[in-house]
Symmetry: C2
Subunit: 199 residues, 2 copies
Amino acid sequence: MASMSDRTTPPTGANGSGAELIGQIAASIRRERERSGLSMAELARRAGIAKSTLSQLESGAGNPSVETLWALGVALNVPFSRLVDPPRPTVKVLRAGEGPVTHSEQANYAATVLSSCPPNARRDIYRIEAQPGETRASDPHMPGTVEHVMIGSGRALVGPAQEPVELGPGDYISYPGDAPHVFRALAPDTLAVIVMEHI
Amino acid sequence: MASMSDRTTPPTGANGSGAELIGQIAASIRRERERSGLSMAELARRAGIAKSTLSQLESGAGNPSVETLWALGVALNVPFSRLVDPPRPTVKVLRAGEGPVTHSEQANYAATVLSSCPPNARRDIYRIEAQPGETRASDPHMPGTVEHVMIGSGRALVGPAQEPVELGPGDYISYPGDAPHVFRALAPDTLAVIVMEHI
DNA sequence: ACCCGCGGTTCGTCAAGCCGAACGATTGGA
DNA sequence: TCCAATCGTTCGGCTTGACGAACCGCGGGT
């Protein structure tokens, strides 16, 4: 079980495409609107669209333009993606020892994927267990990527390749992941979490 | 500076709305298409749309329907949201001691917001430093929320309220955040990271 | 030189989104 | 009871997105 995937907003391809999509949007809009207790007229007014348009959208007669949908997202104060992809989650536990296959392994470096998104979605979570040794440099990832690192125990030198920062237990750093960056353990059994988000 | 916000895909409202949006979409589509080395004709074919449509979209003459945009997302194998919101990040460091104002503080519990998203976006990152004591129960958050917890040091009982799990250093768990759940430290100075994502 | 294929843009047509207004249905107050 | 306000739906129209075909520009093969 190397993947441990959980879904997000992936163009899955296994998607019923058209009708399926607008059905979800219709349901999502109605759900979010009712959740925030607005009437169609009020929501339409805030979003700057005709209430007739909104009515048709919620009734599933759809395929709105992105501007329209965006306006609704703004008015509902809800991230765009939630309107096109409603989800439901589950519980997962991963014991310290049992890496579900340690993803990337090198002499002094062991990373485990805790939670990843399908093909190339929005964020991955890694557990890093590292031993002191030479600097481990990562090539830039997708543009727009951000990495968040939190040290659990030990010490590490981490951050942008040009100006890494020394961190200890409880320390946190975030930096662009689309530029060269490094991670080097300074103490034995250094434990860290890396959240890599692709935005 | 309780916020430490970084942007994502929020209907920010401070958005140049129309033209701004379709401009971003135009750029994103072109960027992603070229990144995957496809020609307009080929991408249009895979997405099942007319290449003329694609041409107009990339040229900024836009406001595509969601179906069209979704089809492109599928063909490009890229999450929907990336097509409407490209970002750029910065570096931030937070030393163990210096909570930027410890966000939520109780006798045996101290949570610090490491990284949060505007109003109600997609994910927040917390650092938890807890002392043994009574169980700390969290009310459900937004529907669709998922929490990821990684223990850095110490021990803690964490998970769904009905069936929490005991975790030690390096242990990881994820569970629905829209249902009641708990976090109880079992050892002094228990350190944890919580990634809360709103999907 | 010629032609064929390919990448990208432009044009004319058709369908569909979006809009304002008008329409039943329901609720609450004078 | 009647009126007014609100909520949601439905109906012409104007606008615009999506499509196919035709159109330039280019390179490679014969």
